[in-house]
């Protein structure tokens, strides 16, 4: 359902800082796949996510969501297909607007926004019910500005917003990296629950190898702008951190060793 075909992206082309972020990257996801993405800093995993979301334009190659080519579509025009949660908890919600207003914005993600009232009273019960599922007590705080929430609460709310109108594809960009371990756990459990309940195709970038191994049905590892390890199905279930590291060592024996240090 997501097809990334031969995508290339180079930053600062023809300068001393030239950086090949993605080199002939191809990746195809099936409907309902939950793919975890790992890789060292600068390996291209975030660049891929940004290319899919439309934050970055690619130099060459194609990106399809379902049968629709989105390669050169503006970011806001990909929103109908894509729900996103960012690393920075500040980024997913509008701080000066209430929880309810944020949810109302998310409810119309990718749809036309006309002159109908933006906060219909009849939606309140629906929002309350959805917020209850987060188990953070936010259902009683509909009119509170999201700027007053904690990082964990904001990430949970962003996750709810990303799935409120079911996306074809959910992009999670290290969305627990900025949280303390306990909160990260909560948000991750919530992620698992929501993805499973709605059977959403998901790409989750993470720095945590353990999470990458335990979550999802497929794991890909990025290195130097390409996918170097791709584990799915049964072998994904049997994967351990040690196995993954030894796989990576075999591959990187021929390449530079920078990333191994970062990953271990």
């Amino acid at each position: 359902m997501l097809d990334i075909i031969q995508v290339n992206k180079t930053f600062n082309r023809n300068t001393v800082n030239e950086n090949k972020a993605l080199t002939s990257l191809s990746l195809s996801l099936n409907d309902g796949d939950f793919v975890t993405v790992i890789g060292g800093n600068g390996s291209g995993k975030s660049t891929m996510l940004n290319a899919v979301a439309g934050v970055l334009s690619v130099d060459s190659g194609q990106i399809f969501i379902d049968e629709n080519e989105v390669t050169s579509l503006a970011e806001h025009r990909r929103a109908p297909y894509i729900g996103r949660v960012f690393q920075d908890p500040m980024m997913g919600t509008a701080a000066s607007m209430s929880i309810e207003e944020n949810l109302a914005l998310a409810r119309r993600r990718g749809q036309r926004r006309g002159l109908r009232w933006g906060l219909p009273k009849r939606d309140r019960d629906f929002y309350r019910e959805k917020l209850k599922e987060l188990e953070l007590g936010l259902e009683d705080r509909l009119t509170v500005k999201t700027g007053l929430l904690s990082g964990g609460q904001r990430q949970a709310l962003t996750l709810l917003m990303a799935t409120l109108k079911k996306p074809r594809l959910l992009l999670l960009d290290e969305h627990t990296a900025a949280l303390d371990p306990k909160t990260a756990r909560t948000v991750l459990d919530l992620t698992e629950k929501m993805v499973a309940r709605h059977a959403i195709t998901t790409l989750m970038v993470t720095h945590n190898m353990k999470d990458a191994i335990t979550l999802g049905n497929r794991l890909v590892m990025f290195h130097a702008g390409r996918i170097v390890i791709d584990v799915k199905g049964e072998s994904k279930k049997e994967l351990t951190v040690e196995k993954l590291l030894s796989m990576f060592e075999k591959i990187s024996a021929f390449e530079d060793f920078d990333d191994k240090l970062l990953l271990s």
Binding site: A79, F86, A94, A95, S96, L105, R108, G118
Partner: protein, 316 residues
């Protein structure tokens, strides 16, 4: 001339009328500065554009309401220029506003044909005028023809309309664009369009304010918009500093900008009554704006200082 208190009181209705008229500009500035998070300097030009278009049309026999509508549209067009500079040319919003403002100087001269156009209150049926204000005070006219009454009604209608608009799906999208543009894009909001629309609406209101001021003072002048942005900012900031704790609703926030404008003009009137050289007013305004802008910054720095009441070693 004597510095007597009654003398000051006599000046207050005039100050209030000016405050209300500039209050409409303040609402426009609120929309860009607070809602869209853009410091839009187009205002200095579009304020005069509104006055110029209005005077030229009215003196050529156009209906007053149509002339007002055209003034609004002319301002919106100025906002469109700034928006296009910003969005399509990739120029920073601040610089885009300055460019439009400079360009408008020539455009305003072209519209007026000369630097100053007078509008004789006796010859045209105006909506608001200093003379009407004086005649109402003397009892020669009914209260409802007072500029204070008419502009207040105008403002109430405007606030109601804006409250509705910024509560719609589209308006909420504009607010989201100003609050968190990354989030807005992720939700599929066309943020470029939202910015341009916001700039157009804001400068339309600013031009409307200019059109009302030319009626009130009886002339349009090429310099009438000079420093308008600072007065608008002063109104927004004073209103917020004094009323933000009380006014949380969007309509009330808009109203607090108008109240800020009223306070600004009352203070200015008082300062003039104290015989300050009018030429120093802009300096005074700049200092007031700078200080009010600094207060939240200083506050947050004080709050961030480590607490040292019990000394650090207890917690080490």
């Amino acid at each position: 001339m004597n510095i007597s208190f009654s003398n000051l009181l006599d000046q207050f209705p005039g100050a209030l009328a000016q405050g209300l008229i500039w209050g409409i500009l303040a609402i426009g500035v609120y929309l860009t500065y607070k809602v869209l998070d853009i410091a839009d300097l187009t205002v200095d030009g579009s304020f005069c554009t509104g006055g110029a278009v209005f005077v030229v049309l009215l003196t050529r026999g156009t209906n007053l309401w149509i002339a007002l509508a055209c003034a609004f549209l002319a301002g919106a067009l100025a906002g469109l220029c700034t928006g296009a500079f910003h969005v399509f040319f990739g120029i920073s919003a601040l610089l885009a506003g300055i460019l439009t403002q400079i360009g408008l100087w020539a455009v305003n001269l072209m519209i007026m044909g000369k630097p100053n156009l007078s509008l004789n209150v006796g010859r045209y049926p105006l909506l608001v005028s200093l003379r009407y204000l004086q005649e109402v005070i003397k009892g020669e006219r009914p209260f409802y023809s007072s500029p204070l009454f008419i502009v207040s009604l105008f403002i109430l209608a405007l606030i109601a309309l804006l409250y509705w608009f910024f509560g719609t799906e589209f308006g909420t999208g504009i607010r989201a664009t100003g609050s968190n543009i990354k989030m807005a894009k992720a939700q599929g909001i066309h943020t470029d369009f939202a910015k341009i629309f916001g700039l157009m609406l804001s400068n339309g209101l600013v031009a409307l304010s200019g059109a009302l001021l030319t009626q009130y003072q009886g002339f349009a002048d090429i310099n009438m918009g000079r420093g308008a942005i600072i007065i608008g900012l002063a109104a927004v900031i004073i209103g917020e500093a004094l009323l933000a704790w009380l006014f949380r609703n969007f309509a009330l926030r808009l109203a607090s900008s108008v109240i800020g404008a009223l306070i600004y003009f009352l203070v200015i009137q008082t300062v003039l009554w104290l015989r300050l050289d009018p030429n120093y007013l802009k300096l005074l305004t700049a200092v007031v704006v700078a200080v009010f802008l600094a207060i939240p910054h200083w506050k947050s720095r004080v709050l961030q200082l480590p607490v040292r009441r019990n000394g650090g070693k207890d917690h080490a």
